[in-house]
């Protein structure tokens, strides 16, 4: 076995290694550095390689709070977490098992976030121990002591020194060295890794690729010789033979935009939505599409609405503050029944809030943000795979129901990376070309069906269909309406479209038994964490099930009946709610989480909620504790 020698007081240093990898079910790895040192690229590549090897993978980016934080500061922690397993991985998990840190200071913010546990292995850059500045040497020594106090297992390694043998500026390239290290530790396929590196640096030429391959090889051999841990995480059995792909949620949205036959993406830069457009802009030429970067959020949706009015399928992609600015245009789309897809990659609010962090707090704004009654469709994908399919679904719903459709994703889905079955494209997803055949001028522009409120719309260019679209109250012929009856009836028709859609929806499936003590209801990206927590609780004999909603407007059918099978129903969400036992809080003034509020209003069931706004995705461990507490309270 490994022989370890003492170094720097209590820090262990590895000098030997084992050669047979130990098998693991799953592991959580973090790479943390100062901003700009490439930890994210390193982790993304590691995640991609693992996904391609057939592992379940979920990655979460660790994003610093500032644009250029000072070096070696806790606030500057930049990096990535990769959870990989033999089974499908649906969330970021709990505490990390292994961390590679480029300096000791960045670890403090991770410790404060509860990211590590007793026994978490830290592979720490040791150059700071011999830094010319005494202050840094002292900080380093103190930090290492503190880490040990927290129960972390720290290994100090001369990573930079090793890189310096190959490159003059280790700030550029240490990440590839570290990639080599973790690929060795987790027995990754080096050919796959090198292919990924080559494609990352493809535009920079052969010389750069070779330099990065050399760094990778050096890291790989370094770990083989210097690190005692060698693990293997066998690939998952997907239970099907369909080919898999791996991407983040914003890329999946981008692919969905193309597969939905959209021709125009009109946007204004906003975190964390913009990377979806970066991806689309890179490949949109292939389908003849066009990205319009508008002068502001209002113009972005206006441009898309104009294109849609003219028969072209368009979407706009934004985040909370952008949604707020688009509100009036969304109301216009509802009023004038213009199909439009709006993707809202939710982040922390209110106001500028937490731009890079996750929240699910735009549900009520999406539902009720517009003045007047503005019924619209709201759907929320729960996985990265669904990010792809829901954009296509949204386009179809928007056109069939002549209505704006809001797709609520979030920062967790946007940057999370997960393998999923590769979609098999269907030509019908692309939609039909613009209809330019003559329009029967006897048929009004809003030929509302009495029962469903649905109607066909004339498109400019269709002879005989000429009408003036207006945001004013209007008759079926789109004439400005001055009479009370027309306004009442047209409101009814626009609302009834949601009832018509509701009729077509399937009753959602309960995860677990149909009866029990507690039903946990979630929506959006938290599905994986909720189901993992519920699974653990059920294995502990708890009578708990979960339900995940994908349609939020209209709601999926059968909810009151499903809820009646449980003693209590509780939503779990990433948005703010008062806790029942908070100071001053009474049942009369308690503010509930957003889905809970909607469910209470719609079902008249006394739905409870548990929600937090920590700015990071929900973790199964914390949910396990929260749900346990609720169950204990119920059964006592």
């Amino acid at each position: 076995m490994t022989k370890q020698t003492k170094h720097n007081d209590n820090v262990v240093r590895m000098e030997d290694h084992t050669s047979i990898p130990q098998r693991l079910e799953e592991h959580i790895v973090e790479i943390v550095s100062d901003s700009g040192e490439g930890a994210q690229k390193c982790g993304q590549t590691f995640g991609a390689v693992s996904g391609k090897m057939g592992n379940g993978v979920w990655t979460v980016e660790i994003i610093p709070a500032e644009i250029q934080p000072p070096a070696r500061s806790p606030a500057g922690a930049s990096g990535i977490r990769i959870r990989l397993g033999s089974k499908q991985v649906s969330n970021m998990g709990n505490e990390a098992d292994l961390v590679v840190a480029f300096n000791e200071q960045v670890l403090f913010s991770r410790i404060a976030n509860g990211a590590y546990k007793k026994g978490t292995i830290v592979l720490l850059e040791n150059k700071w121990a011999s830094d010319p500045q005494e202050k840094i040497r002292e900080q380093y020594a103190a930090a290492v002591k503190e880490f040990q106090h927290h129960g972390l297992t720290v290994y100090e390694l001369p990573m930079e020194e090793e890189c310096l043998k190959l490159v003059s500026n280790p700030r550029r390239g240490k990440n590839m060295f570290v990639l080599g290290m973790i690929c060795n530790i987790y027995s990754r396929d080096t050919e796959l890794a090198k292919k990924e590196i080559a494609s990352t640096f493809a535009r920079k030429g052969e010389k750069v690729i070779q330099a990065n391959h050399d760094l990778f090889d050096a890291g790989y051999s370094f770990a083989a010789e210097q690190v005692q841990y060698h693990w293997e995480i066998p690939p998952q059995d997907t239970g099907h033979s369909r080919p898999m792909m791996i991407s983040n949620g914003n890329q999946a949205v981008g692919l969905g935009v193309m597969a939905a036959g959209m021709e125009l993406v009109s946007m204004y830069p906003i975190t964390p939505a913009t990377s979806a457009t970066h991806y689309i802009a890179d490949v949109f030429d292939g389908v003849g599409g066009f990205v319009h970067q508008a002068e502001d959020e209002i113009a972005a949706i206006g441009f898309a609405l104009g294109a849609s009015f003219a028969g072209k399928t368009a979407c706009t992609i934004t985040s909370g503050p952008g949604m707020a600015l688009k509100t009036e245009m969304i109301g216009l789309a509802v009023m004038a029944e213009i199909p439009l897809v709006i993707v809202d990659v939710q982040r922390g609010g209110p106001s500028t809030g937490l731009p890079t962090k996750v929240e699910q707090a735009d549900l009520l704004a999406s539902l009720y943000g517009a003045p007047g009654d503005a019924p619209k469709v709201i759907i929320a994908p729960a996985t990265i795979e669904e990010c792809f399919h829901y954009v296509i679904l949204a386009r179809q719903l928007a056109e069939t129901f002549r209505i704006p459709v809001i797709v609520l994703t979030d920062a967790n889905l946007a940057t999370g990376v997960q393998p999923y079955p590769r979609p098999e494209l269907k030509e019908e997803w692309l939609g039909s070309p613009v209809d330019q055949s003559p329009w029967d001028s006897e048929v009004p522009a809003y030929d509302w069906n009495e029962e469903t409120g649905l109607s066909q719309r004339p498109i400019p260019g269709q002879r005989g269909g000429e009408y003036v679209l207006t945001g004013l109250a209007h008759t079926s012929r789109s004439k400005v309406a001055y009479d009370s009856d027309t306004n009442q009836r047209s409101m009814e028709y626009r609302s009834r479209k949601l009832a018509a859609l509701h009729k077509t929806l399937k009753r959602p499936k309960v995860n677990g038994d149909a009866t029990g003590d507690l039903l946990v209801v979630g929506w959006g990206s938290s599905r994986g964490a909720i189901e993992e927590a519920v699974e653990i609780l059920r294995s502990e004999g708890k009578q708990v099930s979960s339900l995940h909603l994908h349609f939020l407007s209209p709601l999926e059918p059968g909810l009151p009946e499903i809820f009646s099978g449980f003693k209590k129903v509780m939503t779990v969400e990433i948005n703010y709610s008062d806790r029942a036992d908070d100071p001053l809080i009474t049942p009369e003034n308690r503010r509930y989480a957003q889905l809970a509020m909607v469910l209470r209003a719609q079902t008249l069931v006394d739905v409870d909620c548990w929600s937090v706004v920590y700015g990071h995705p929900l973790q199964p461990g914390m949910l396990h504790d929260a749900i346990s507490n609720k169950l204990n309270a119920l059964n006592n």
């Binding site: 125009l264 389908v287 104009g306 294109a307 009015f309 004339p458 000429e466 003036v468 207006t470």
Partner: protein, 317 residues
């Protein structure tokens, strides 16, 4: 012989459009409003160009001017306050076959929609932008607008508008990639017709500021110009807007101005002692954004599916 088809004349006459084909609902502006003149001129230009009504889209924001689409027999989009330009730009972006017109006002374009105004000029998407400038908010009953002259009494400034009026011409000329700037008065039918016609023929965003009478709320804005023609500077040039002799006889102040001369245009626009009428600037070589945004329209489904499959393959495990 002569390559004529026997049914040629039938084709033409089946689709001959009269003014009535371009007219929509009965226009409901105040008696004496300058908007009637603009509406009738637009109808005449469309009739003279024989453009199919179904290929024409009139887009507007909110305000008196923005009622115009309702009085057209074409397609129309009566949008939101200040937002006519992004809507119109989006309509044209992927439908180069459509003929797009924008009707907007001084409040709609220069105030709430000012951001879009600047950027739409820079995009230079092929459309006609008619700004009905009566220096007042009419629909909401006499509030100060960005172009209200200093001292004009309004319901929001009963003691008189405190600030110098915004100069839409210098602002417009100052935008990079600007391609067409003209100014005209609603009460001069020949110039109104020729100016809007030239705007329509220009490829790019043709900005026409129409100084427009509001006899109800801002009579003081136009009346001096109507009564004292020496306050108007008539611009003419062989490359400019054709000016007929009857018009030339009316205006004592005239200037030959080459519309390709940007500095000269800026100088004319900047001198507020005389109000120019005619074409200030035209640049046929400006970048036209819809030439770029409409690329790829002819992709077939097969080509699209190939491209999407290739994109998916890059993520393949």
């Amino acid at each position: 012989m002569f390559g004529l088809k026997a049914d040629w004349s039938l084709d033409v006459f089946e689709r001959y459009f009269t003014l009535g084909n371009y007219a929509g609902g009965e226009a409901r502006w105040c008696p004496g409003c300058g908007d009637f003149a603009v509406l009738n001129t637009v109808h005449r230009i469309l009739r003279d160009a024989q453009l199919p009504p179904e290929q024409t889209v009139a887009v507007s924001g909110i305000g008196c001017s923005s009622r115009l689409p309702h009085y057209m027999g074409t397609y129309g989009f009566h949008g939101l306050h200040g937002r006519a330009l992004p809507l119109a730009n989006g309509i044209k972006a992927r439908r180069p076959d459509l003929d797009v017109w924008v009707a907007t006002g001084d409040g709609d374009c220069f105030s709430i929609g000012a951001g879009h105004w600047i950027h739409a000029l820079r995009y230079n998407i092929d459309m006609v932008v008619l700004v009905f400038d009566n220096a007042i908010y009419g629909l909401t009953k006499k509030q100060t607008s960005p172009t209200s002259p200093t001292g004009m009494t309004t319901n929001t400034h009963p003691q008189g508008a405190p600030l110098p009026a915004l100069n839409p011409l210098t602002v417009t000329l100052g935008v990079s990639n600007i391609s067409f700037v003209a100014q005209v008065m609603d009460w001069n039918p020949p110039m109104l017709y020729q100016t809007i016609k030239a705007a329509h023929q220009h490829k790019g965003t043709s900005f026409v500021r129409i100084i427009q009478r509001c006899p109800v709320f801002s009579e003081s804005f136009c009346k001096p110009l109507q009564e004292d023609t020496s306050q108007v500077l008539l611009l003419h040039h062989a490359d400019g807007i054709p000016v007929d002799d009857n018009v030339k006889r009316v205006f004592e102040n005239q200037r030959e101005h080459d519309p390709s001369d940007w500095l000269g245009a800026m100088e004319i626009a900047h001198d507020t002692r005389q109000i120019p009428m005619g074409l200030l600037y035209r640049n046929p070589d400006a970048v036209v954004y819809d030439d770029i945004s409409s690329q790829g329209l002819n992709k077939t489904n097969a080509e699209k599916l190939t491209a999407i499959n290739a994109a998916l393959d890059k993520f393949a495990v």
